[in-house]
Amino acid sequence: MGVRSASSSSSPTRREMYQKMSASSSSLVGSLMKTWKSSRHSSAPDSSDGNIEAMQKPASFLRRSTSHTSPGPSHIHMSPLRKSLSGSANKDKSHHHVQKKDRYFTDLDEDWSAVIEDSNTPIPMTSNGGIELKPAVTVGSASDKDQSVSRSVSASASYPNLPRLNKTQSTGLKSQYEQENERKLQELNALMHRVAKFDLILHPPNGNQVNLSELRRLSWNGIPMAHRPRVWRLLIGYAPANIKRQATLLRRKRQEYRDGVALVFSKEHTRDIPTWHQIEIDIPRTNPLIPLYQNPLVQESLQRILYLWAIRHPASGYVQGINDLVTPFFQTFLTEYLQPAQKEDVVKLSPDTYLTHEQLLDVEADSFWCLTKLLEQITDNYIHGQPGILKQVKNLGQLVKRIDSDLYDHFARESVEFIQFAFRWMNCLLMREFNMGMVIRMWDTYLSETSLESSGSESSSMPATSDSSLQSSPVAGFREVSSSLNLQSKHATAGSNRQTSLSEFHVFVCAAFLIKWSDQLMNMDFQETITFLQNPPTKTWKETDIELLLSEAYIWQSLYKDATSHWR
């Protein structure tokens, strides 16, 4: 069967952006207007923190956000949204991508089945990344419907040739049931399209190199469940982009982990009792409501991962919250061993019913390395005094002051301090605020935001597994410090490198999250505010809500780029 992809999908970026924007128009425009209003009213630059040129020039920054004319600094990687806002500096590069992709899709059009067969990942029917299949999302006006589809599915192009899609033309006469069916079909189509895109990028037809910036761009909008383990390993810089080298490297890393564990739990190593106990206490307290984490095998795995990480990073050691951060990795890597229809059940199934001991150790090893990679990006959050978190909280305050000065003033009047609610947001990357499914979707985007320069998979390796290197913690500590310094200096000097970071983006997500409740918060006193923010009404959040939040964060990051120049 010949299935053609819609050609318009080759440049989803700008359109997507506006769809996201229009989908969120009420809240987003509202807040943008607020910004504009407040900036217009503030006639003089605020000397204490005012380097916000845009704030003083609402007209120009509005223009910049809509016309794409202002040159932006070059980016190593870009989300689609980012690209659409970042201006002409990237035009050449993105144009290049588009061309390439067009060619890929020509291939795809010509040989759809071959592509599917090439891929060893079956198309998930029940599991997906970034797509809400449930019919209940928006059944309403036609425009509502369109929005919900295009908002949740970044490659929203459908396959015009599928017969059932075009069967009925008179929408007015269609029954609700038919409409729902049709929408489900469309979504399924979009999902398949998306799956095919990921297949293609993970198995480049010509060459052995996975295009990482393309992968980041695509992943920013969500990763299909079937691809997630492999994509996460790539995004975070654990697996190499060269597919020829992937298997070898993973084998080596997994062995390295096993050796590390063997050594640390051997007689030669003196157990760090306080650390071990603290981890032991926290393991059953990790995601206590998800059955998977009460499983003894899983608990043992997590305990090994956390302990090994802690003693290898003595400058920070084990800090509560890190136990939360390892779980999305672990859970995601487990799904690799489950049939598509079962992947959602990963939270319920006991791993020993579907994988071997060695496979579980592989999952454990991958989780360890990916956790290591993630924490490399936020080292300052967990060292003594947690300066990274304090800085993020401060930046959040400053940001809210600019974006929503009414709310900021209200907090000041009520003596609400940002650290009272935002500390946890930073320490656990908002994981306590959302259920696990939403967190994992969020991480698709977050891992797309991780810094490329630490993506050289050789850069992090187990130190030579000798007793001395393990027990001489000062040396390990020195290594840690020096590597983080190294990272910082790269950030500072390399104009050619990324201009954002995970922690920076996270602050914008937190700002978007807070301002989402602005209208409600304005009517709350101190106690109501803190209570509300400690239990935000996010239980019912769907992926579309998360995606909206991420888009808003992204837009603000683009608008307030100058605000972040002094963050580092």
Binding site: Q278, I281, D282, P284, R285, T286, N287, P288, Q294, G317, V319, Q320, G321, N323, Y382, H384, G385, Q386, E417, I419, Q420, F423, R424, N427, C428, R432, Q527, I530, T531, Q534
Partner: protein, 212 residues
């Protein structure tokens, strides 16, 4: 009955996993969770208690116990009128930590802060676990430092309300009747229908409090 309202800012301090959050959960919701997530930063909760002719509203900051978070603690105890310093009766290390907190509060917190020393997880001792912090040892610390002292179980609820009641009785009230102890406790109930009347719970071991 219309009654005067007194607010008490109260902070909980103590080593990780001794049961601070569980004590608060018991007091506020009369509930217990077998596995409770570690507190990150601090959690804020409130509970009102009717004591005869006046009402006390507890504004509670439940802090995180891990050492790494300790630098945040001053922010929460700075303005507190009362503090619960909690340890686990089966964990000697947690009692050492409790001593440190008492010392720090005496040095850094407000002069007239009311401190209650609380040995939690008493149910474990009753069900066979070895007690690692002797009653006398804790009582000695309490009398030396002028602390209220209780042994509690957040799991069974034993003595938990009594801690807060005792603090409520020591706090200077707007009405001048706080000296009538008997009346105070007999009239006590917590204005949440899930709550037991504390008169029924008074038959536990009498709190050895040290009125300085």
């Amino acid at each position: 009955m219309n009654s005067a309202l007194t607010s008490i800012k109260l902070v909980l301090l103590g080593e990780a996993a001794v049961g601070k959050s569980s004590i608060v959960l018991r007091f506020v919701s009369n509930d217990f969770a077998e596995n409770k997530e570690p507190t990150i930063g601090a959690a804020f909760l409130t509970q009102r208690v009717n004591m005869g002719d006046h009402t006390i509203k507890f504004e509670i900051w439940d802090t995180a116990g891990q050492e790494r978070f300790a630098s945040l603690a001053p922010m929460y105890y700075r303005n507190a009128q009362a503090a619960l310093v909690v340890y686990d009766v089966t964990k000697p290390q947690s009692f050492i930590k409790a001593r440190h907190w008492v010392k720090e509060l005496r040095e850094q917190a407000s002069k007239d802060i009311i401190i209650a020393l609380v040995g939690n997880k008493l149910d474990m001792v009753e069900t066979g676990a070895e007690r690692k912090v002797a009653l006398e040892e804790a009582e000695n610390l309490a009398s030396q430092e002028g602390l209220l002292f209780f042994e509690t179980s957040a799991k069974t609820g034993s003595n938990v309300n009594e801690v807060f009641l005792a603090i409520g009785q020591k706090i200077p009230l707007k009405s001048a009747q706080q000296q009538q102890q008997g009346q105070g406790s007999s009239g006590l109930r917590i204005n949440d229908d899930s709550r037991v009347d504390l008169r029924a719970a008074q038959d536990g071991p009498a709190p050895s409090s040290c009125n300085c």
